[in-house]
Subunit: 143 residues, 2 copies
DNA sequence: CTTCCTGCAAACCTTTTGCATGCCT
DNA sequence: AGGCATGCAAAAGGTTTGCAGGAAG
């Protein structure tokens, strides 16, 4: 698969161990935001020797390489962090403050903002995180 | 002072104790993002009996009332959370990934985004947090 | 042989909670 | 008296680290 985390790691000359492959593959394919515990649980199903410390160390590596983004989803679920491969298209996380449902919205807003930051602060944007707390339609209609 | 946290608490009928006044006042006037430890340290200078638990309980109260926003500033400083009175004008936090400098940028982008979220997801936005990781001009010019 | 990855367990750090005390109404 | 607010200490919960063993180059 092109642009996969594994490919990106390879391109950077990072040593690809079996466990790193498993964890990167999960992040690429799970299709939702996972936290460290999720990653450990799913990973263990494929390689039961995977350890918590390795999960965190791999996440740190991927973060340092700029290949994944770390989110806290507005603390809807406490202090856990959630991870996703750094998206090609900018998007926005919208979470319901009542029921915790999280949806993603693709939007041109992040690009607009990046330009604005560049022009008005002189800072060169590297990654943009946008999180919206909201009330979903279902919760709004059920008091 | 109009629109102060203390006024807002009063308007909501929340019991205003001495310690809550001190903490709210600090949040209103410190002019930067403070974390719980900062708040405790500064608060103790004015009322040495203030305890960590009270700081957290007061922060929780203010959060629940929607009077302050909780930020993590992209984990530049670990797991600490930072707080600021909920701003009248929407703004964006821009942090330098190299030196950690954080600047705020007032922008119309949050309002635009709120409208987009409403229109395209049906979720009703309540608060929007935008954090940008960037490289500041100084760091860009000093390799 | 050297370097880096891993498991294990302990340590860390921030935040939360249970309980007894005390203040305010 | 009743209802919160508070101090204290312990717990909780997620994340990080020191160290020894092992795999890879």
């Amino acid at each position: 698969m092109a642009h996969s985390l594994i490919d990106s790691l390879e391109a950077r000359g990072v040593r690809l161990t079996r466990q790193r492959r498993v964890l990167a593959d999960i992040l690429d394919n799970v299709g939702r935001h996972v936290n460290a515990q999720d990653l450990l649980t799913i990973g263990k199903q494929r390689d039961s020797s995977i350890n918590r410390a390795t999960v965190y160390r791999t996440l740190r590596l991927l973060k340092q390489e700029g290949l994944i983004d770390e989110l806290d989803l507005l603390h809807f679920e406490g202090e856990k962090h959630f991870y996703e491969p750094r998206p090609r298209a900018s998007h926005v996380h919208v979470g319901c403050g009542r029921c915790g449902a999280v949806v993603e919205l693709e939007s041109g807003v992040p690009e607009v903002l990046a330009a604005e930051v560049r022009d008005r602060t002189g800072f060169e944007p590297d990654s943009i995180r946008i999180e919206v707390r909201a009330i979903c339609p279902t919760c709004r209609n059920t008091p």
